[in-house]
Symmetry: C2
Subunit: 410 residues, 2 copies
């Protein structure tokens, strides 16, 4: 029987580990003597037939570079498939057949798993022999069933490191101050819990931690700050998720917009931290500043966790084994081995993951509880372990893989 080929794409928001999973798929595909094709800009590339053959591009050295490169080497998209749009599904099928694809891998988060689910169902309904596998990634760590998502551990490492350093920074002046750091996470507080880890490991800071799962009350917030000041704790560090909401479920980041307008008359798109900065200035009057840690949370490749990268690579390798073994319509997942900082790779039905969202469980909402702190440490810390031994360029900076350096006219 003729060996079928592989097609792989990346989708959604970046992480520093998503290329490691891509490298795993390529490595295992090539080792099984398959042609491995890459879709440029995810499913858009499949629809528009923007496909490149990766076997010629990716040597052992490029695999190494790819593993250490943040974001999506093949480009990404945010495209929601409409099941009633059969024309688009026909285009996808045309591409899959054009390149004689037997195995389609899609690396992404919630929305991307929805794409996997729909393509799998379409192919199944036609009784075609193409196996479709979802490989998770997202710094948000909000996929259900899997113990964690590739990319989360490195983002956690970036946050812990940056918060440790910001703590050094805020303590230098002898005046009352409030520093509010906004961390990514629209609905879930996983990254904010990671940013709180310096408090759990070293005590004290960050002083106040707010996640979207716990209703935020700005009156209580100001009370908490004043209480710290009264206890001679003068340099308050607050870490909040971008998506914190009040008791009615309204985003705090929306509150400032109601009256604040830019000079063109548009609502100012300030974040939650910016709004709270203004609020604390108004209510307490002390030195206050807000910091959005922004894109580096998902792109700071130089702070990759080796554990995260290795696991992300392995889940890519294993995805190929699973597909070749005949499975389809599944997502790759991690299972934590009980009581150990080790993880098994397994699969689950894609429709159990697609479109669901894993929030921080209720038992972990009270982070002042020492038992909760220990559980959070035990969950997150193993995922941040180890530093990657980077290949550097001649100028002394980390060498990143750029697909544009290998091909033109894509």
């Amino acid at each position: 029987m003729k060996i079928k080929n592989i097609l792989v794409g990346q989708s959604g928001g970046p992480t520093v580990a998503i290329n490691a999973s891509l490298a795993g798929v390529i490595k295992q595909g090539i080792s099984k003597n398959m042609k491995v094709y890459g879709a440029i800009n995810g499913i858009e590339g499949v629809i528009d037939n923007k496909i490149i053959l990766l076997n010629d591009i990716i040597t052992e050295n490029e695999l190494h570079l790819l593993k250490q490169t943040p974001d999506m080497a093949l480009g990404s998209c945010r495209y929601k498939l409409d099941t009633s749009d059969l024309n688009t599904f026909q285009k996808i099928l045309d591409t899959l057949y054009k390149y004689d694809i037997g195995y389609f891998f899609y690396i992404g988060g919630n929305d991307s798993m929805d794409t996997v689910d729909k393509i799998h169902n379409y192919i199944k309904s036609l009784e075609l022999e193409i196996n479709v596998i979802g490989i998770p990634k997202t710094i948000d760590n909000d996929l259900v069933i899997t113990n964690h998502t590739p990319g989360f551990g490195s983002a956690a490492k970036f946050l812990i490191t940056s918060i440790n350093e910001i703590i050094c920074d805020i303590e230098i002046y002898n005046t009352k101050s409030v520093t509010i750091i906004e961390v990514m996470g629209r609905n879930s507080g996983w990254l904010t819990l990671a940013a709180a880890i310096p408090k759990f490991l070293y005590g004290e800071k960050p002083d106040i931690v707010c996640i979207p799962e716990v209703p935020f009350c700005k009156y209580r917030f100001v009370d908490q700050i004043n209480k710290h000041f009264k206890n001679n704790n003068f340099n308050i560090l607050v870490v909040i998720s971008e998506g914190i909401k009040d008791e009615y479920g309204n985003y705090i980041s929306e509150q400032g917009k109601l009256k604040a307008k830019d000079e063109f008359g548009h609502p100012m798109l300030s974040g939650a931290a910016k709004y709270l900065e203004q609020y604390v200035k108004e209510k307490i009057g002390c030195k206050t500043r807000s910091i959005e840690l922004n894109i580096p949370q998902r792109s700071a490749g130089h702070l990759q966790s080796m554990k995260d990268i290795d696991l992300s690579y392995e889940i890519g390798l294993e995805a190929v084994n699973i597909a070749v073994s005949g499975k389809s319509g599944v997502a790759m997942i991690f299972e934590k081995i009980n009581g150990q900082s080790k993880y098994n790779i397994n699969t689950c039905d894609i429709h159990k993951i697609a479109n669901y969202e894993k929030l921080v469980p209720k038992e972990w909402h009270n982070i002042e509880d020492k038992f909760v702190q220990k559980e959070i440490i035990d969950y997150i810390l193993p995922l941040t372990k180890g530093n990657v031994d980077f290949q550097m360029d001649k100028f002394g900076f980390i060498k990143y893989f750029k697909i544009n350096n290998y091909i033109s006219n894509i």
Copy 2:
């Protein structure tokens, strides 16, 4: 003759290298059998007699930790001495005599050198035998005479690394976008030139670079972006200094404030990048975002340049030698050895440095000129070289020196 003691303080804004200079002063003082005292919160600690003996605290291991710790281990202040306030000068003198100080070192930027100048003049007018030495630091690199300032090289390394990673991030989507990154620098563009180095080394990005020394025209800015789009360059990366000004000398960051008010009726304190984000959205309508790289520019200890840290340490060591040799009223400076990436340490009269500001020279304003690019690379790149071999804690994170762990009630 009895050996006199050392007093050392830190002042102004943080860098990741200012503790390395402190470590140098302590090391050399101890090796000369002197007592080394630290002033808590800079000159404020001298005035208020908040002084600690460092000999007992700083062992070889603590010196190592201190060198790798960002920000000011002794705390900082922003205090401008008023020469007519003799009461304050008397308090300073009381402290210096109480601890039998023969040598006073002050590590800081422009304003701190002003403090050194004033204390030196006061002591000289009384014909007292206390030598006063300024040790420079600032990520802004805006001190005159010295080739560069301690801390600038590490901040440059942080910026080059982060920009390289953000370039990976902005290129993943197949849609027109403008990303505007705001870099520290109120009057001088040194840090923004560092952020532009990926363009010089690897070509292309950042696409547009704006420094305060060159008047900013928002109409030309929009034209430049449109031109890039026309040339099929779709993901535009802009790097600006926080202090860019229009042709009349008005800060761009002030422009948005005129009409934008927060919900309390106060002017919104948005930065230049935020203002330009709104402006580009209004004029072009494409996806636009702004990023302030914020505090990590001066506190990202994990991206220290070994060259920067080593030079900062050596200038601290040498400051003690200079003081003991009898010099006073001088600042320590670096001189670049012609045609090499090596630096001599020397001194200059403090009043030649205090309160002056070094801007990016006119010859370097046209950064599209390849010759200029080479000169900027040759100036900045040697200061970013080498990675520090950090001492890590048991959790796998860099161990930072905290003076609070060693003393109480300061």
